[in-house]
Amino acid sequence: MKRSLFGRIWPNATAVVLFVGFVFPVYWMFATAFKPTNDIIADTPVWFPTNVTLGHFKKAVHADHFWTLVLNSITVTVCSVVFSLLIALFAAFALARMRFKGRRGLIVTFMLAQMAPWEVMIIAIYMIVRDNDMLDSLVPLTVFYTMMVLPLTILTLRGYIAAVPKELEESAMVDGCTRGQAFRKVIFPLLAPGLMATSLFGFITAWNEFPLVLILNKDIEKQTLPLWLSQFQTAFGDDWGATMAASSLFALPILILFIFLQRKAVSGLTDGAVKG
């Protein structure tokens, strides 16, 4: 196909504009975090931080309870991702590989569960948690975050398991493996990219969760980072340097994890596509 010069330029030009548009907020967060306050409130924006300072990061890190909240966030996030993966693996295997009565109903059930508006059920959850004397605890958070990511984990893993040719499993079983062994030795290793992609999703959901912890945990020692961040700006007034440093610290783990896992998940996927 012949393309005019114009026809070659406009997609690239659009791509550049879009790239800038998508990256700028992220860039501006980090850039602001490193700029001294004078540069942040300059009449003309300082586009590149030239006088780099770590002061804002120090302020954020030294804010009361910061490290406790980091630990809380990591605990609830990791636990809920692991729990949901464990539960989902069994369910996804059954849904992908077995035929049984009620299968369709169950798939739709999990789809409906995926729609669950947790944000509007917080009053009921508050009452349940309170009546069980579990307010200001990380346990209910972990338990409900597990449930929040469970349906999508099941549905996605089901897709990944179904994508593994069943012949692989069958030949393993011919070689004398039980069904469970065939799953462990043959399917499970092939699921690595799928597990990474789904756990990434779960990680982000749990790391981000905000309404539930907002209402359940009033004790600052038992809160998580999103709540802290949403209140940070109020606490620090218009200290945008510190606020952006705090946001950067909060976003960084996800950004790193995303870029790292994304490639693995996608390369696994394209490999599969190439091999047919």
């Binding site: 997609p11 791509a15 790239f19 548009g21 998508f22 990256v23 907020p25 501006w28 409130i41 300059a42 924006p45 539960i87 069994f90 369910a91 295997f93 059954a94 849904l95 992908a96 590989r97 077995m98 035929r99 049984f100 299968r103 798939i107 739709v108 729609m115 508006p117 509007v120 059920m121 917080i122 009053i123 597990t146 549905l155 996605t156 089901r158 990944y160 179904a162 994508a163 069943k166 069904r179 992609a197 990434l200 999703f201 982000i204 981000n208 309404p211 999103p226 961040l229 949403s230 940070f232 945008w240 946001s247 950067s248 909060f250 996800i254 870029i259 896992l261 998940a265 599969g272 596509a273």
Partner: protein, 331 residues
Amino acid sequence: MSVQTQGTDTAGEPAVRKARIPGPPRGTGRDSGSASRGAAAPYLLLLPALLATLVLLGWPLVKNGMLSFQNLNPRQLIQHLTEWNGVDNYKEVLTGSDFWKVVERSIFFTAANVVLIMVFGTLIGLLLARLGKKMRLTLLVGLVLAWAMPVIAATTVYQWLFAQRYGVVNWVLDKLGWHSMADYNWMGTQFSTFSVITLLIVWMSIPFVAINLYAATTTIPRELYEAAALDGAGAWQSFTSVTLPFLRPFLYSTTFLEVIWVFKAFPQVFAMNEGGPDRLTETLPVYAYVEGVGNQHFGVGAAISFLTILVLLVMTSYYLRMVLKQEEDEL
């Protein structure tokens, strides 16, 4: 045929929001033939997931339904009193004008966001397919960065971008000639607050649509285009007769997911300006929160959240019916 398979694929499995998965290719057959061995096996494997769903989702849903028929205010809450009041909460909510205004606003807000996300997401996805390798990678990096930003961090950044003083947006608008925008308070009116929230949500949501759509286009067999070209189809015709039908199931399922996600969006709306100014940007989930928790009318809040779930179900019923039908065909 391939289009049909694609249909059940994307429909049966809501794609992952934060991971780039164009719906993994399915094996053709899915029954493994050993159903005879242990008919209870699938149920046992599903038991933990079902129990979790029943207890952790079912219980709050039932509890929510029960609370919505109770007179539950701070006094009853603190003293652990259960006072049933029939349908009073629903009467109060449904006869007030606030609720309907919020419903209307939520639907309009969801529609506007989803249309923007789908249109621009699709266009950018198609653009990705047209770009050269280097440029595509560059744009992908940009999209992934926006995609990976945690909601609350992104909301804070947008507050800073649109800050009245020293916000970079106001500075740019001023330089571009809108001098009245130099000290503009974006959180001052309903429309401008919604504009910022919409920009935030659209910015965060486009990558999911664009990247997945691009991945889906790479699975379209080249022969289809060749066949279309042989039949004398132009660029536009091959788009409408090959690309679009192939992507349709994907577009349906993505629209469905975006409707749910935007409609439920709580942190973006709440953390931006807590539903202000004057409660004019409260969408249904925020309204339920402010009425129920903020104003401590817990029973009324429960009734609102029940109605919210109903609205959500109505909005997505078309797609759910489609999925039910497809799953039926499959078996």
